[in-house]
Symmetry: C3
Subunit: 353 residues, 3 copies
């Protein structure tokens, strides 16, 4: 089964454990969206917003959940988790990594660094003294590895990534452009006159299979290491403060800020734009919806939220003004309740249920 020639629907059904409805010989040479489907391409339905495109898609093959199979005009691959199956099939069509190895003539590698022969170091990259770059690691153009960095096999720094002194990456770690790992944490103490820098003596340890999105920053620890456990996935523009510990298989969407010394459990899901205070503890299995303001520890798994959803400006303006007097409003309500109870005791009792 070569990607260039494509695959038949029957081959894909067998390989990925789907039930097939339609033409097992339907040929798939790439993927598409339902809206812009084309003959020879495969699509999927995993989000209700796109159901309206299902019946009329021109895609030859569609991966769907059992309940949607009836609406597929072409060939259906039926599976309980269509998005997962789609991801696996799409991987067949992903361009292969370029087969490069060796150190580019325009890279700068310290004499006291070790680069595996199967690794690649791109142009204008800098590898500091004592750094160890493992087998098949790819260091893209413009990356900077400070002294003592260690990167295990098959990791990739796409481009323009900075790793500070002593940062360690596990295997198959993927860092996108603009990522900064191991800059100093924000430690400042006021001496009565000015802010004094608190030395940031820890580093950062990133375990296997972690992916970090573009322009995300992970600060080094103040004393011990900042840690991202295995399988953590971070989106773009995230800020992770010093000493933070993120548990295995937690995923975090873009623009999240995590203040220093906070611990986040395993298999958490954190939405975009969430802000998390410092020195907090968030247990395993917590989901936090987008833009939530986390001001205290979350000690039980579950879904958490905060914030005020969008409204027309005039409506919002009136309500937001009232918020500024909410305490007074609540006191006035209590006063009314007390007054009524005094005036006609017992009359309102049935309301308390």
């Amino acid at each position: 089964m070569e990607a260039s020639a494509g695959f038949t629907a029957g081959e894909l059904a067998a390989r990925f454990g789907c039930e097939l409805r339609g033409d097992p010989a339907a040929r798939v040479t790439g993927v598409c969206t339902l809206q812009h489907g084309r003959e020879g391409l495969l699509s999927f339905l995993a989000n209700d917003s796109y159901r309206r495109y299902l019946a009329d898609t021109a895609a030859s093959v569609v991966v769907v959940a059992p309940r949607d199979a009836g609406e597929v005009a072409g060939t259906a691959l039926i599976h309980a988790d269509p998005y997962l199956i789609y991801a696996r099939i799409a991987a067949l069509f992903a361009p292969p990594r370029a087969a490069v190895r060796g150190v580019d003539a325009h890279a700068t590698v310290a004499a006291a660094a070790t680069v595996a022969p199967s690794a690649y170091v791109g142009p204008h990259a800098v590898i500091g003294a004592g750094a160890v770059v493992g087998e098949r690691v790819r260091i893209g153009p413009g990356c900077v590895l400070a002294e003592g960095v260690r990167i295990e096999a098959d990791s990739e720094l796409v481009a323009r990534v900075y790793l500070g002194p002593g940062v360690r990456l596990g295997q198959r770690v993927l860092l996108h452009p603009g990522v900064t790992v191991g800059a100093d944490g924000f430690g400042q103490v006021y001496d009565g006159e000015r802010w004094l820098k608190v030395p940031q003596l820890g580093s950062v340890r990133i375990e296997d299979d972690v992916e970090i999105g573009a322009n995300t920053t992970i600060d080094r620890g103040a004393v011990e290491d900042t840690v991202l456990e295995t399988g953590v996935k971070l989106d773009n523009q995230i800020q992770v403060g010093h000493n933070v510990h993120i548990g295995a298989h937690t995923v975090i969407a873009g623009c999240v800020g995590i203040s220093g010394s906070t611990r986040i459990g395993r298999r958490c899901m954190i939405g975009g734009g969430v802000g998390i205070g410092g020195h907090l503890d968030i247990v395993d299995g917590v989901t936090i919806t987008g833009m939530t303001m986390v001001t205290h520890s979350l000690t039980a798994p579950g879904v958490y939220s905060s914030g005020v959803p969008v409204a027309p400006n005039r409506t919002w303006r009136r309500n937001a003004m009232r918020f500024q007097h909410l305490d007074e409003l609540a006191r006035r309500l209590s006063a009314l309740e007390r007054r009524l109870t005094r005036e006609s005791p017992g009359a309102g009792e049935e309301e308390s249920s």
Copy 2:
């Protein structure tokens, strides 16, 4: 009219269609703020906060709206849109782009790339295989263009910009330092045990006259391209998720996050720090004020908002505590209303108007 010698107020009035009140021979050799005006400089009034500086400014010439002209002590250029006229005049004093062309000796250009003779590629920039760099394009120092990037005429990448595989830029596109376009979108699917990467097979298409601020990130599409239409202006530190489509002439202020697959219409204005959920549809002509949390599609033009404005901490603390019981408070109010209606039916009817 050469910038070095400056311009007379009369020349500027004629060139930019302003009414002149005062001395047509007043000479302008640069621009200034009202507060720190100086003889020979030109300022403007476009924001009420600065009206207090108008009467006493030392600027020789001030661009104002008709209603403010009477307060100008020096020479006034009068126009309905003073900020627009200021911008055009200030452009006369902007330093010209350095006349550079050619590929710097410290740049790395793949053999299979095409760079127009009139283009410039700065030191330590990297141009990947198959890239096409158009006429008069400027690739600043430290930029990285992956394979297959295409940039049309007169675009500029100031410095340290990353463009991922297959990214296309139109004409006169301006990308500021730290911009990352075309890194992988955040596609992850849980296989029951770990997160599996969903291949990001689309790229990014940016049309003419787009400007993107420092450290902003635009992810490549999962299947189709992420698209910024002509004339879109993005400020710094913005995150644009995969498959997002931003309509022509929309402006977005700093620190905004736009989740994947959301469509934003034309001529929208989005304030700083706004967060927009995924798979939403925002029609043309929507304005969203700063820090709004957009949780659903916006189907009509207009101004939208959310959030709670700043207050003294003690006031806020009391009100925020009450927010956590707002539903209960509303139920208690309803109970009181029902009780009063039972006790004295009809007595409150005139309130309902």
Copy 3:
């Protein structure tokens, strides 16, 4: 007192003005957290969350406030400000800056630039025409200094920092990787059809002892300079708009956005994720808690806040829905009050106290 051999508790007490309780000969060769203390290391207690680890720590020496001294099993260094003393002691164990100087063979320095002999310019850095790099300044790998940049003595750009045309840095300024100072501000004016760029003719002036965190962006002024006064400390991923002025010794945590032309006073403290509108004035001595939405000027010192703290999703959902009707709820309450006053005037008077 050499760091390699360590220090005795007695030496540290004398040097930093602490009262000592325990063994003056206790040797300290590094620092640790209370949780993971080890023989020979020094820790501190400055945050109540960690008090539970105090009694059982294996650290040989602990810096504590007087009230906590009784709980220290080992040797205590007692001081009113344990975190400050810790910071000073930890500085003894910070790795010394590598003794490098000169211009790396892979750097690109314009002929018309001046680099002090004691300064260092790392590989793949670019120094533009007319730039002046002072004594003992360190320009790390991949940094880009545009034309006319001036950096005073002992400043450091760790790596991959961009400084735009004419940016000036004072002494001992520290810029972390990914920082962009002096990109264009976001000035756009609508000409009735499209957005026209407003020239950004000012630059950025950064005074002595400023520290700026990874991937933070500071825009150049539109007319005059954007200014950070002496001793300002900025965390990561902050956006500072054009013409902003930040007063001396103000500290700002990560992910804050400050819109253009806003003035922030001296010795302010701004929490993570705060958003501050444009053209505002914030006086000296203001503290703003995390994620606050600053929509108006703050004219008196004090602590300010906004936002809605996290709650379980179901609770939040109910309360947030009620927020959208808060104005109506307040009106209904007022109506009830009026009705009751009409029905039994005077009966509720004692409530008003």
